[in-house]
């Protein structure tokens, strides 16, 4: 039926009002001649309304003459009639065509240039670089060669590590990744190697600079280990009587030292703790325009002490419009006081763990443990506490560069 309607629309059909005394004959003759009629409705005593295809009108005229009926076209439907109407309004059709053509022409120009990923380079510099190879607002899209532009940006701005130029409709997107400069290699300020930690020097290897400490020395934090100020040996220039000026350089070297760490931990033999008891309830609610409605779960929380975990689900943002409806799930975990009793060994273990974790915080990533000792601090009086001290001795590098003004 849909196909039939579509065909009728494409080829055009009309509704006729037929007047006459022998309408049944009119319908029969039409049907016999293969003229398709539809929606035949009686309008009055001898008037009917009939739907017929455009191609059927001419034969219907003959039939009408033979049966002494007369018909008038009541309404016209379909593309042929629309085309006919459009022929009378040529300017309108021309306007629509011109609109489409202008839109097409305008869409083949670049109207926007978007730059992404630039941090240190200003957008203006990039636009300037790009303009020189012929990419600016208002340029025809066909003239743009993205590979050429990418190369030009790379050549003109050496700080750019990677660049991508994408044409997206009337927008050109320039994506830039800048080179990251590690450290400040460029600065030529002289530096010392200083100690970062207090320790006993175990080995010192000077690559450049002058060592001012020796193996076996105990050094403090911040003490200069290898100096960047090289004082020339006196003996060479002694006969001139003129002191040579010291040279300044960036000291380099490896300084290893023994470093001591101490950690302290304690644990009670009997302790009151607050722990989740395992009981829990959940509450689902929906929040709409500031009002919260509980869907499921108790309105009064049945626990005196509890911990709650809230998860909120919202609808995804659509454009800038946030749906003001939230689903909230709250999980209540009951908390209970709990008397924890430990044996002496258990308490000691716990205290040791605490002490160790303290030490581990202080340890550098690269180290070698030489010695470690766990001490239990025993007090005379009977106590609820177990105290533990952990002592660790490591071998590690303690030198770091520090610039100085000569």
């Amino acid at each position: 039926m849909f196909l039939f309607k579509l065909i009728s629309y494409l080829f055009g059909h009309v509704f006729l009002v037929v007047k006459g005394n022998s309408l049944e004959k009119f319908i029969n003759m039409a049907a016999n001649r293969g003229i398709y009629l539809w929606d035949i409705t009686k309008l009055g005593a001898n008037r009917i309304r009939v739907g017929v295809r455009l191609s059927g009108i001419r034969p219907l005229r003959h039939i009408a003459r033979e049966t002494a009926c007369r018909f008038k076209i009541k309404s016209r439907v379909g593309i042929p009639f629309i085309v006919e109407r459009m022929k009378k309004r040529k300017i309108l059709v021309a306007g629509a065509f011109i609109f489409v053509i202008v839109l097409y022409i305008l869409s083949s120009f670049v109207w926007f240039i978007e730059i992404e990923g630039n941090d240190k380079i200003s957008g203006k510099d990039i636009l300037l670089a790009v303009r020189q190879v012929g990419l600016s607002e208002g340029v025809w899209r066909g003239d743009i060669d993205t590979a050429v532009i990418e190369q030009a940006i790379k050549d003109k701005l050496p700080i750019v590590a990677w660049v991508g130029v994408f044409i997206e409709g009337t927008k050109v997107r320039i994506e830039i990744v800048e080179k990251k400069i590690i450290g400040n290699e460029i600065s030529d300020q002289p530096t010392h190697i200083v100690a970062t930690k207090t320790g006993l020097l175990q080995g010192i290897l000077v690559l450049s600079g002058q060592a001012v400490v020796a193996e076996g020395d105990v050094v403090e934090v911040g003490q200069v280990l290898i100096s960047g100020e090289v004082i020339p040996e006196q003996t060479i220039n002694q006969n001139n009587g003129v002191m040579d000026l010291p040279r300044y350089l960036q000291a380099q070297g490896v300084v290893r030292a023994r470093v001591w760490y101490e950690g302290y931990g304690e644990a009670k033999l009997v302790e009151m703790l607050i722990k989740p008891s395992g009981k829990q309830t959940e509450r689902f609610s929906i929040k709409m325009v500031g009002q919260e409605i509980i869907l499921k779960g108790p309105s009064q929380i049945p626990f005196t002490k509890y911990q709650s975990e809230i998860t909120v689900k919202t609808f995804p943002l659509w454009r800038d419009f946030a749906v003001p409806v939230e689903f909230i799930k709250v999980q209540y975990l009951e908390l209970k006081k709990h008397r924890e009793e430990r044996t002496k060994t258990e308490a000691r273990k716990l205290a040791e763990q605490k002490a160790w974790s303290q030490v581990k915080l202080k340890l550098p990533t690269e180290h070698k443990i030489l010695k470690q000792r766990v001490e239990h601090i025993e007090t005379e009086q009977q106590e609820n506490l177990v105290r533990v001290k952990v002592l660790v001795e490591t071998l590690e590098e303690i030198g770091t560069e520090k610039p100085f003004q000569p």
Partner: protein
């Protein structure tokens, strides 16, 4: 006259014997009624009368009378016809 009666008799016998649908063999109308909304007639021979209350259709060996309210012919082709409206009665009259 005798001969045509004999021919019909033979045809009927053949239809019974071979179980051929009788509307094809005997050129009889096939009427499908959908509730009181629609009547579909195949093998009609034309309309004798059409008003919004009554439609009379010639078929082989007689006529079909359909009465109701607001009757309209949905479409009409050489041998097929659909009538819509509020149908009240459908009558088959042998010729």
């Amino acid at each position: 006259m005798v001969w045509s009666g004999f021919e019909k008799h033979i045809k009927k016998q053949m239809v019974n014997l071979l179980e051929i649908p009788s509307d094809i063999m005997l050129d009889l109308p096939k009427v499908v009624v959908v509730g009181n909304l629609q009547v579909f007639i195949e093998n009609h021979r034309g309309i004798i009368e059409y008003t919004s209350e009554l439609i009379r259709i010639i078929v082989e060996d007689g006529e079909i009378n359909i009465s109701g309210e607001n009757l309209s012919i949905r479409n009409i082709m050489v041998d097929e016809l659909i009538i819509e409206g509020k149908i009240k009665s459908l009558e088959l009259r042998g010729g």
